[in-house]
Each structure stands twice: as structure tokens, then as C-alpha cells.
């Protein structure tokens, strides 16, 4: 009897400890956001911007793009880790398995940090491994290697977003796709925007139609309410649709 109790206790303990270890390694998702900046490397405007786009895309297509930053993977394989997050959190639609996870670490030392883009089966056709590798090379690495973390995520995110939106023929609000080579200086771009704004302002004055169109690229949710982003929040977080992944993706060290 006593021996059995001991045995039971040992087995039970081993089981509990085992569970404890896996849980410690796997971060828990936060509610109401697609951007999980556990490593604290992203500024609030960047997080809000990316979260806004993910929310629009999720509401429009059911595809979910999530961003996760971590200090360290504690030696685990980056792609496998990302695949497990997609599966455990259920990123993407349950039927379509169309989740994307952009994950990077920042506490493993320069040259040893992992960055990985992992996709569910539903998007493997639009985002094959080779393409994801190219996106990491052209959009993530150039900025991350010079410390522009926010920019690295913005450009990488924009590339992924465009591809997913294209896959679903979704023409909602899209993030700017920044060219890696700066073919157009920023001031030219700003000047163009100002000119466009002036033209819009003048042309709408005549008609008297649209009330104070401020040239902001429309948040679909805010047009009726006039409350700005507060209105689109109402649409709510549709995250964690129960999507899975077969392990597609690409990774780099940086």
C-alpha cells in the first residue's frame, strides 16, 4: 500500500513537473490583441498600427496575422516553436487554417536571435517557405540588423499582409509597403500627400458633399460613427479562431 502511494506520488509529480515545464516555455496569449510584444521592443504606435490592420483583415477574411516577440526560446527550434504557438493558440480560422505568425526573439544575443514566419496550411500556397525566406531577407534583416526593430516588423508585416490580402482578393485598408531601396525621398512623399490633400479639399468644397474628409485613409468602422478608432474597436477581436498549422514557414538568425 505504502509502496503504491509512493509510486503514485512519483508518477504524479513527474507528470505535474513535466506539464509545468511545457507551460513555462509556451507563452499565454493576451486577450484583445494580435500583437504580443513580450520582449518589449515595439512602440505603442507600431503595435496599434499592426493590430489595427490585423483586426481589419480578420474581420474581412478570417485570416489572422499575429506578431510575437520574446526574449528567448531557451534553445528550442524556432520553426517548431512557432508552429506550436499557431496550434495551441489556434491562430487562423478553424476550417481554413489561415493563420500567420511572425515571431522574433531579442534576448539571445546578436547573431543568435531567431526570427520566423510560420503559416497554417491554408496559406502555404500564397506564402511558400521560399517566399517567406525572401521576405525575411529583404524586409526584416536590413532593418533589424541596424536596430530599427519597429521598421523591421512594419515592413515584414506589410509584405505578409499584402500577400494574404491578395490571396483573398480583399481590398480593405492596407499598410504602406515600404520599398527597401529608397527610390522616393520622404519629403517628396510628404509634398505629394499635401498636394493631394489640397486638391481634395478644394474639390470637395464645391460639391459640399463629404463632411470634413481629412484625407485619412478610411477606417471602415469609423466612417459612420465619427468616433474614430473607438468605433472599430466595437467590431471586436475575432482572434484565436482555432486554426492549425502543418509546420510551414521560414526562419533566420539575426
Amino acid at each position: 500500500m505504502n509502496r503504491f502511494t509512493w509510486l503514485f506520488a512519483i508518477v504524479y509529480f513527474a507528470f505535474v513537473v513535466n506539464i509545468g515545464v511545457t507551460q513555462a516555455a509556451m507563452p499565454k496569449p493576451m486577450e484583445n490583441t494580435y500583437i504580443h510584444d513580450f520582449a518589449n521592443v515595439l512602440s505603442t504606435p507600431v503595435k496599434d498600427e499592426l493590430n489595427h490592420y490585423s483586426e481589419q483583415l480578420d474581420n474581412g477574411t478570417g485570416a489572422e496575422i499575429m506578431v510575437v516577440t520574446l526574449d528567448s526560446l531557451n534553445g528550442q527550434d524556432a520553426k517548431m516553436f512557432a508552429t506550436k504557438i499557431i496550434r495551441e493558440w489556434g491562430i487562423g480560422d478553424k476550417e481554413k487554417n489561415n493563420g500567420v505568425l511572425i515571431l522574433a526573439t531579442f534576448g539571445q544575443g546578436e547573431g543568435n536571435n531567431d526570427v520566423v514566419i510560420s503559416v497554417g496550411q491554408g496559406l502555404e500556397g500564397a506564402l511558400p517557405d521560399g517566399k517567406l525566406g525572401r521576405i525575411l531577407d529583404s524586409a526584416f534583416y536590413p532593418y533589424a540588423s541596424t536596430g530599427e526593430i519597429g521598421k523591421a516588423f512594419q515592413t515584414t508585416y506589410a509584405e505578409v499582409f499584402q500577400t494574404v490580402a491578395q490571396e483573398y482578393n480583399w481590398d480593405g485598408d492596407k499598410p504602406e509597403q515600404q520599398e527597401a531601396d529608397e527610390s522616393m525621398p520622404t519629403w517628396v512623399f510628404i509634398l505629394l500627400i499635401i498636394i493631394v490633400l489640397i486638391v481634395i479639399t478644394f474639390s470637395s468644397n464645391g460639391g459640399g458633399g463629404g463632411p470634413r474628409s481629412r484625407g485619412r485613409r478610411g477606417y471602415p468602422g469609423s466612417f459612420g460613427g465619427g468616433f474614430g478608432s473607438g468605433g472599430s474597436r466595437g467590431g471586436g477581436f475575432g482572434g484565436f479562431g482555432g486554426g492549425s498549422s502543418a509546420g510551414g514557414g521560414a526562419s533566420r538568425k539575426f
Partner: protein, 193 residues
């Protein structure tokens, strides 16, 4: 007559009881076996995909590093081994051999910056590494299903049914120790080029 009905009735009740016990078990065995088979198909898909990617990889390596015959030969050989493998165990072994050969290739590639920066080569290595990850996922799913299936086969009354209808325990797809970590593609330096 009534005396005879007693024993016969009992036997019928026992038979019905056994049938009620066995039929669901039998069905669950069939379902479990189908699950195992479908997961195995996933594993084979990924193995096949690796198999198909290798010739392209070898070609692009030859373009830049033709005199690295030893590595090229070991990759080709591992691929041939994959092609002739039949059982999960053989396939696991062949796959490990391929992983070993690819790791050696990654070491060699360090000496060929042009190859390392080649878009085609990078894409192929991404596809291969991604396939390796998919394989790891498929392998885990398969092994989980095998575990469930084998549990039924070993336990009562599943073991009786399995014996009667010829269900045998399934083989795990085991990776060699150390093969858990896929050969990772590290392009950090060449990313600048």
C-alpha cells in the same frame, strides 16, 4: 424444453453481451487504424517532398561548388536510400542520413559566398528546412496516433479483437538522437550582400 431454454438463453445473453462489448471496440480499432494511416500519409508526403527537392539542390550546388564531390555524393546517396526505404524504421534512418548530409553541406556552403547568396539556392534551402519542420510535425502527429492505436491493441478487450482480426501494433517513426533539431539555415551574414 424449458430446461433447455435456460442454458441456451444464458449463452445468447452472454453472446449478445460480448458482441455489445466487442463491436464498439472493433469500430474504434478501425477508426484508430485509419487515423494512423492518414497521419502516415502526411509523413510520406513530406518525405516525398524532400526527395523531390534534392535534385534541384544538388544542381545549384554543383553550379558553384562542383569539386565538393564528397558532400554531393553523400546527399545523392541518402536520397537513393530514401527511395528504397519501405518501413517507417527504414524511412526514418534514410531521413537521418539525409539530414546528416545536408548538415555537412551547410558547413561546406560557408566557403562559397556566391552560392550562399544565390537566390535559387536560398529558396531551396528554405523549402528543405520548412519541409523538415513539416516532417517533424507530421511525425509527432503520426506517433501520437500510433500511441492511441497501440493502447487499444494491447489492452483488454482490444487485444482479443486485434488477435482475431489481425490488427498488429504499429511502428513509431523514430528520429535518431540529435536528429530532432533540423539543420537550420543561417544566412545572417550573407543577408547584407
Amino acid at each position: 424444453m424449458k430446461k433447455l431454454l435456460g442454458p441456451v438463453g444464458i449463452i445468447i445473453i452472454i453472446l449478445v453481451g460480448l458482441a455489445l462489448l466487442f463491436i464498439p471496440k472493433y469500430n474504434s480499432l478501425v477508426t484508430a487504424e485509419e487515423n494512423v494511416d492518414s497521419k502516415w500519409a502526411q509523413v510520406e508526403n513530406q518525405l516525398q517532398r524532400r526527395y523531390d527537392l534534392i535534385p534541384n539542390l544538388v544542381e545549384s550546388v554543383k553550379g558553384y561548388a562542383n569539386h565538393e564531390q564528397e558532400v554531393i555524393a553523400s546527399i545523392t546517396q541518402a536520397r537513393a536510400q530514401m527511395g528504397s526505404a519501405n518501413t517507417p524504421e527504414e524511412q526514418a534512418l534514410a531521413n537521418d542520413a539525409l539530414n546528416g548530409a545536408l548538415s555537412r553541406l551547410l558547413v561546406v556552403v560557408e566557403n562559397y559566398p556566391n552560392l550562399k547568396a544565390d537566390a535559387n539556392f536560398r529558396q531551396l534551402m528554405d523549402e528543405l528546412a520548412g519541409t523538415e519542420n513539416r516532417l517533424a510535425v507530421a511525425r509527432e502527429d503520426y506517433n501520437n496516433e500510433v500511441q492511441g492505436f497501440n493502447k487499444i491493441v494491447k489492452r483488454f478487450p482490444g487485444n482479443l479483437i486485434a488477435g482475431m482480426f489481425g490488427f498488429e501494433q504499429k511502428e513509431y517513426f523514430k528520429a535518431a538522437a540529435g536528429a530532432e533539431q533540423a539543420p537550420s539555415v543561417d544566412f545572417s551574414e550573407s543577408g547584407k550582400q
